[in-house]
């Protein structure tokens, strides 16, 4: 009975019980994540996606357990139904869970998320998860020749993209998570 009229439990590793408003807001944030997946800005060389914004807010408000579960569902449903692109692979699901966990460990229950936390979380997700783990999955899935050189060939363009994306993601995350409207919403929905 996870959905009840109660205030959230604050333990990091518990599954916070949600009241109806918190539950529906989480559902709408999942919807927002799907919609933001369709929004890219930038040039042909560097396309910027904003899916990390909704996931960051889910992590800040709902903690690691909900975030990891949502990340799992969104990855599986996203890769097969919402954005089918031939890349459904359990490795990517593991990446999505890891990214959700990292965001939640850095942002959960933070009224004001500091630059340091954002730099750390975005850095780990960008370089370890996106550039490292995801390149490894692509290497396993598509590369016919499994040598260190072919892995590096695949890694380099992804690493360069990650280096370019890092400051952008940090700035957008900081501006969004610490926006006055978001803080007001936190008070309204979570009484904190």
């Amino acid at each position: 009975m996870a959905v009840q009229n109660t205030t959230p439990v604050k333990g990091t590793w518990s599954l916070p019980k949600l009241d109806v408003s918190q539950f529906v807001v989480l559902a709408l944030l999942v919807g927002l994540d799907i919609v933001l997946g369709k929004l890219t800005v930038g040039t042909n060389v560097l396309k910027i996606s904003f899916v990390f914004v909704a996931m960051s807010l889910i992590a800040k408000w709902y903690g690691p357990v909900w975030t990891m579960m949502i990340a799992t569902i969104l990855d599986v449903v996203g890769a097969t139904i919402i954005n089918p692109s031939g890349t459904f692979f359990l490795g990517f699901t593991l990446s999505a869970i890891t990214a959700g966990l990292i965001y939640a460990l850095f942002y959960y229950n933070q009224v004001h998320v500091s630059w340091l936390r954002i730099l750390g979380a975005v850095g780990l997700v960008t370089f370890v998860v996106n550039a490292g783990m995801n390149t490894l999955w692509l290497f396993i899935m598509y590369s016919q020749v499994h040598t260190w050189d072919s892995f590096v060939t695949l890694l380099m363009p992804r690493l360069i993209k990650s280096i370019m994306m890092y400051p952008i993601q940090v700035i957008v995350t900081y501006a969004f998570l610490n926006n006055a409207a978001v803080k007001q919403a936190t008070k309204k929905i979570f009484n904190k």
Partner: protein
């Protein structure tokens, strides 16, 4: 942006439409997993034949499937070019600087493209013939064993159903906000990456506030109707497997067996 396939359900009474959504999801997942083992033209031809047969059974015009492929055309092209230029091997057809176009590279590029297209076609079959709410119900039913380890399956399924239901509305809202910002002189397509990223904040905040307001309205509506717990929900349509689903599962088992027979005995 409006090419999203969610909500693209086209009502019909085809053989595929009448299947239980769980059957369609299982077939889709098994197919995607089996595709990971395809590695020669015989296995690709067999998986292609299976999808083409299913497309035919949906009684939908091919244009709908083509619409599903168009949004990721560039992603497919990019991946194909990468495969073409970075797959080592012999014989080498020609070299341009550090890049080599090899026969294994061309074969690999074709296989990757076919894999992309087939998986997208298979997923499109599911979304064209199944309403999003049925997909969420099917997911709830299929994930029910995880309830035993404390996973709130009913809540996650309801959450997904609400999210999928609101995706088209949120898309429209995002388009409206973008147009409103553009009419006030905001540009999302000029300047460097950081300037463009900053320009997105005035889009994200109103979108978020709009979504939040909708969520709170919906929560009120649910509460006044007595909603307390996703677990206690009753359903208008109870899912149950029919004879047609047994036929589909038999066909799926046949497909998998023949796939591995082709993979093992025809190519090794």
């Amino acid at each position: 942006m409006n090419n999203i396939m969610i909500g693209r359900f086209v009502p019909g009474n085809s053989w595929v439409h009448r299947l239980d959504p769980r059957t369609k999801m299982i077939v889709t997942f098994v197919y995607i997993i089996v595709m990971l083992w395809a590695n020669n033209w015989q296995t690709y031809a067999w998986t292609a034949a299976f999808v083409v047969a299913l497309v035919k059974l949906t009684d939908q015009p091919f244009k709908l499937y083509w619409d599903g492929l168009k949004p990721i055309f560039w992603l497919i092209l990019f991946t194909v070019i990468l495969q073409l230029l970075f797959t080592p091997g012999t014989p080498i057809l020609f070299s341009v600087g550090p890049f080599q176009v090899t026969v294994p590279g061309i074969l690999n590029a074709i296989y990757v493209m076919v894999r992309f297209v087939l998986i997208i076609l298979m997923s499109t079959i599911l979304t064209l013939t199944t309403p999003p709410t049925s997909i969420a119900n099917a997911l709830e039913s299929l994930l029910s064993p995880f309830k035993k380890i404390g996973v709130p399956v009913a809540e996650l399924a309801l959450m997904l159903a609400i999210a999928l239901r609101f995706v088209p509305l949120l898309m429209d809202e995002m388009q409206k906000i973008m147009n409103a910002q553009k009419s006030r002189g905001m540009s999302f397509s000029t300047g460097g990456p950081i300037k463009r990223a900053k320009a997105i904040i005035p889009l994200l905040i109103p979108l978020f506030i709009g979504a939040l307001q909708r969520a709170l309205d919906l929560a009120n509506a649910m509460e006044v109707r007595g909603f307390k717990d996703a677990v206690q929900r009753t359903k208008y349509r109870i899912l149950s497997y029919q004879k047609i689903d047994k036929v589909a599962f038999t066909a799926l088992i046949g497909f998998v067996i023949i796939f591995f027979v082709i993979k093992t005995w025809l190519h090794g």
